[in-house]
Symmetry: C2
Subunit: 328 residues, 2 copies
């Protein structure tokens, strides 16, 4: 089994790589080759039984997708994207990377299959940004996609292309819409969604964190470990059950900031909670107002995708996976 991960240097890409290297198999098949690409060369994982190739490539450069596909990987995981803020700031770059490069990848697979049959599994990571306010209280599986960002638009288009290329038999595709990933490891960043992780991650390491929105803000979360599980399942499950509707909102946990903080108190005590400094930021508040609060993901749940049920669990996963199982 040859697995290609595009966007392998990102947070999810690194965690997926580590998991595949640890398992050595995916869906019962041994992994013989692992090709890891990103705009910067991904680190070569240690201890892989599979042959690992890492490459620094820009997927939007003509010929790049074709060269990756020419090696006929069995499973292609497409994680690469310009993030929301950047796609909004640079219209042309966002469309070039998030739309054109994705389409070029799909086209390369179609063209590769023209000479000799080739039908890989394609896993496309989409986003809840395909939805745009106003929302119902819970966003159901049949709710329409009216993105309010260019990033969300590009992801929604990627979903449509994925479905059509799958329906036409060019590949076997699945698009998974990830919840906001929490607790995101690493340093605080300037993403508008950063505080959802910051207010947990920083106090868990004895650092102060800033909360820019009211405690009543509700949002949709899943752990990095859940995200990797979604991907593994998407890489290996029988997709015929999906019929022609190939894009799924993944399960997650709907929680208010207050509920996040209560979980932090239960897991790490009052001294952790005291490290959260409330500093309202109306700009972030306004952005977050337009974000989904809750989903009814009956379809992905019925297919066996699962996420965390409590924020205590999400915090414990962070402690296990990022802090070596120990609190500060």
């Amino acid at each position: 089994m040859h697995v290609l991960i595009i966007g392998a240097a990102g947070m999810i890409g690194r965690k997926l790589t580590a998991r595949l290297v640890k398992d050595g198999t995916v869906g019962g098949g041994g992994i013989t080759a692992l090709t890891l690409v990103d705009v910067v060369a991904p680190e070569t994982p240690q201890g892989s039984r599979a042959k690992v190739t890492t490459r620094a490539v820009d997927l939007s450069t003509p010929g790049t997708a074709a060269s990756l596909v020419a090696e006929r990987p069995d499973i292609i995981v497409h994680l690469a994207a310009i993030v929301s803020g950047e796609a909004e700031a640079d219209f042309e770059r966002g469309y070039r990377i998030n739309l054109d490069a994705t389409r070029d990848l799909f086209e390369s697979i179609r063209l590769e299959g023209k000479n000799k049959p080739y039908k890989p599994r394609v896993v496309f990571t989409s986003s809840i940004a395909v939805f745009g306010a106003p929302f119902p209280e819970k966003i159901g599986d049949e709710y329409f996609t009216t993105p309010l960002t260019s990033y969300g638009t590009q992801k929604a288009i990627g979903e449509l292309l994925l479905s059509d290329y799958t329906r036409r038999g060019f590949f076997d595709g699945i698009g998974i819409r990830l919840p906001t990933i929490c607790v995101r490891p690493g340093k605080p960043n300037k993403a508008a969604s950063g505080f959802f992780s910051n207010i947990l991650r920083e106090p868990l390491s004895g650092q102060e964190a800033v909360l820019p929105v009211p405690d009543t803000v509700r949002h949709w979360h899943a752990s990095p470990r859940a995200a990797v599980n979604f991907l593994i399942k998407a890489m290996t499950m029988d997709l015929s059950a999906l019929g022609n509707r190939r894009n799924l909102s993944m399960p997650g946990l709907s929680a208010t900031v207050a509920e996040q903080i209560e979980a932090l108190r239960r897991v790490a005590g009052e001294k952790a909670v005291k490290l959260i400094r409330r500093e309202p930021d109306p700009v972030i508040g306004k952005i977050v107002e337009g974000w989904p609060r809750n989903f009814d993901t009956a379809r992905s749940l019925s297919l066996g995708f699962t996420a965390e049920k409590t924020f205590d669990e999400i915090i414990r996963i962070h402690i296990e996976d990022e802090l070596g199982g120990k609190l500060h």
Copy 2:
């Protein structure tokens, strides 16, 4: 007011042109210039007070969209498309015309506005083919788009692009999803949907028509006159009421084939009905099974779009507009 119609030689394009020439104004503004383009040069309408230019252009040829946009039309009506069957038969051609050419048009407008402010009205004709079975009994305004054809996929992508380009301020766009147009004038054609018109148009002219599906088949219709009214309204209404949700399913009439035939009996008598020959075609039956039967178009109705309420009305419009007001 300079109006550009792309796809002006088609049935809807010709009817829209005739209406604009007759009115001489659109939305209270006098029409000074009318640019009519299509892959074959549209006929020059008689009696126009506006300066009329006709051109045979292939919108998918690089530079074509830019040259049309360079004249800075105030209103652009984009009707051009490869039809469903052809887009399914020729994957590359469908994407080139229905997606790439549409995107090139939108991009040309964005780039034209970079040097000197330019923000035209853009009316994009979409289709109920953006929806794919299984359906609810009525398809509501917030139902998701899961097309089952490449044509529907290309239209759904056009809708997403239209919304994003509008949100970013590059133009003021509206996408309208037309019902199946009935009674379609002209000769019987091989489109799977052709019989919906054939079974009325042919008998109204004393000709036989073939009905390939059961009388119980239900579908969604509007007259050519209603379609032109949708377009005129879309060209002129204040679009701020639409907010960021720029794509609308147009009103129509949900009717069974039996109801169509009953209307024909009321308007043209038993001798017309007797010209319908039942000749079941399982292939057409199967295609039609996957089509929408009914819609709840609360949003477009609340904005003042209207269509016919009975099939008698649809038939009378055909008699008035195509048969000089007289039955055979």
